[in-house]
């Protein structure tokens, strides 16, 4: 199956992707991702993959609804933009699977199946929910982040602060650990005072995508500027 004809532009701060569809081709996106499109395309909202898959997506921090854009008799173009300003990546799956952090999914082509994957208790401490989104099959996937996305080729071991993981290939093993220090006593000190806390340790061979910022520090920074509700 040939890949989608697409182009990503405006990286890394306001990345968008435009997809060219030939008659008979479809592309699927999260709700509200469509920024513009030619009128030749048909848009349909639905619970793709049935209720069970839809619920799974919900638990993985995504919407239950998936929008389908189809070129029927005419070719057409659709432009997708994530709801949050930031970067966007394309990944081509070839009968393999990839895990996405909560909210990272933007759009995918035909041939891919999205499902929820229980991250295990090891996902628990990362503050990003227990459930990862898993994409598998053969096709094109687009995912987005707040901040720029950096691609890292892991050949041995690699450590990433849990807040900064966007996606990773399933060939990698992952484990949430306390940032390793030089001595056991140091490890505890790093954890309590070092501010790095829990990190995700990847091992094996594969790719990890990280984001250069995450949104929570910005939100906590803006919080004190909110007006205070009057008591009376």
């Amino acid at each position: 199956m040939s890949g989608l004809d697409f182009e990503i532009s405006q990286r890394p701060d306001f990345a968008i992707v435009s997809v060219q569809l030939q008659p008979g081709q479809s592309v699927f996106s999260e709700p509200a991702a469509m920024a513009s499109m030619t009128p030749s395309l048909k848009m349909k909202a639905g619970l793709k993959g049935g209720l069970k898959k839809a619920l799974g997506r919900m638990f993985a921090g995504e919407s239950m609804i998936v929008n389908t854009f189809t070129a029927e008799s005419q070719p057409g173009e659709v432009v997708f933009a994530p709801g949050i300003p930031g970067d966007l990546m394309h990944y081509r799956l070839d009968n393999n699977s990839i895990f996405l952090q909560r909210g990272a999914f933007l759009a995918h082509s035909e041939g891919l199946e999205m499902s929820a994957k229980w991250g295990g208790a090891k996902g628990f401490f990362s503050g990003h929910g227990l459930v990862l989104l898993k994409a598998q099959g053969t096709g094109d996937l687009f995912f987005n982040s707040f901040g720029a996305i950096l691609e890292i080729d892991v050949t041995d071991d690699y450590v990433v602060d849990t807040g900064y993981i966007v996606a990773f290939e399933d060939t990698l093993d992952y484990k949430v650990v306390v940032l390793p220090g030089s001595r056991p006593a140091k490890t505890i000190k790093n954890f309590l005072f070092g501010g790095e806390g829990l990190v995700c340790k990847f091992s094996g061979q594969g790719k990890v995508w990280i984001q250069t910022r995450y949104i929570h520090p910005l939100l906590s920074w803006v919080y004190p500027f909110r007006p205070v509700q009057s008591k009376n």
Binding site: P12, D13, G86, F146, G147, A148, L150, I152, D156, D157, Y158, V159, V160, D161, Y164, L179, P180, G181, S182, K186, K189, N190, F193, G194, G195, E196, K201, V208, I210, T212, R213, Y214, P217, L218, W221, V222, Y223, P224, F225, R226, P227, V228, Q229, S230
Partner: protein
């Protein structure tokens, strides 16, 4: 140590490559990702030094963390990616003797040989400069990484130069500044939205940031629901 600054200017990060036994001291929480051949040590003072309690306390008042993280490579060719949490840019400053005076939250990392200390700039500046009460003073030789809110631009000051409060990132200590009013009259200065400004004099390098965090916060805050 090799470095590369990526994703400039909005969400910049510094990608450092450390060889065996090379170290870098970072702000707490700056580590985003790294190879596993790096060990981390948390202290309240310089690497390997003890009794940095008061240094830590002073640093805390300057808007930095009480603790510092020292990253040391114990294998060749190790990668460390660091970045601030707020939106903005990173610049590298090569310190060759002398000192660099850095606005409280703009210090991101520096070579382990550089001494990081808090410095008091006097009451007037503490209250009116739009920056923190204390500043970070970096002394020694090596690399320093600074971060900003918004983009960073560099000004080579020779003589006098005026910067609005809240826009200073760092300056070489061959420069001094005082707080003055922006216009000829005090009322005119405030009506013009500039109020008080920082007037530098001397010869040296000055780093400014394009945006002023409290101003941005004051614009956003009223648009949000009361807490």
């Amino acid at each position: 140590m090799q470095y590369e600054i990526l994703a400039r200017p909005a969400t910049a990060v510094a990608k450092l490559t450390l060889e065996s036994n090379e170290s870098i001291t970072c702000e707490v929480g700056a580590m985003i990702a790294m190879s596993t051949g790096i060990s981390v040590e948390t202290t309240s003072g310089m690497k390997g030094a003890s009794g940095g309690f008061f240094k830590g306390l002073k640093r805390m008042f300057s808007g930095e963390n009480f603790f510092l993280n020292h990253f040391t490579a114990n294998q060749p060719d190790q990668t460390l990616i660091i970045g601030p949490t707020m939106l903005g840019d990173i610049v590298h400053h090569d310190l060759r003797g002398g000192s660099l005076v850095i606005q409280g939250s703009s210090w991101l990392a520096s070579d382990v040989g550089i001494k990081i200390d808090a410095t008091w700039q006097g009451f007037g500046k503490a209250i009116f400069s739009g920056e923190g009460l204390f500043w970070v003073k970096a002394t020694g030789e090596g690399s320093i990484f600074l971060n900003s809110f918004g983009a960073i631009y560099e000004v080579d000051v020779d003589g006098e130069y005026i910067v609005d409060t809240g826009h200073i990132v760092a300056f070489e200590d061959t420069l001094q500044f005082k707080i003055v009013k922006a216009g000829a009259s005090l009322i005119g200065s405030f009506l013009g939205g500039e109020g008080l400004v920082c007037k530098f004099h001397g010869t040296g390098k000055l780093y400014c940031q394009s945006h002023n965090p409290p101003n941005f916060g004051k614009l956003l805050g009223p648009k949000l629901k009361p807490r």
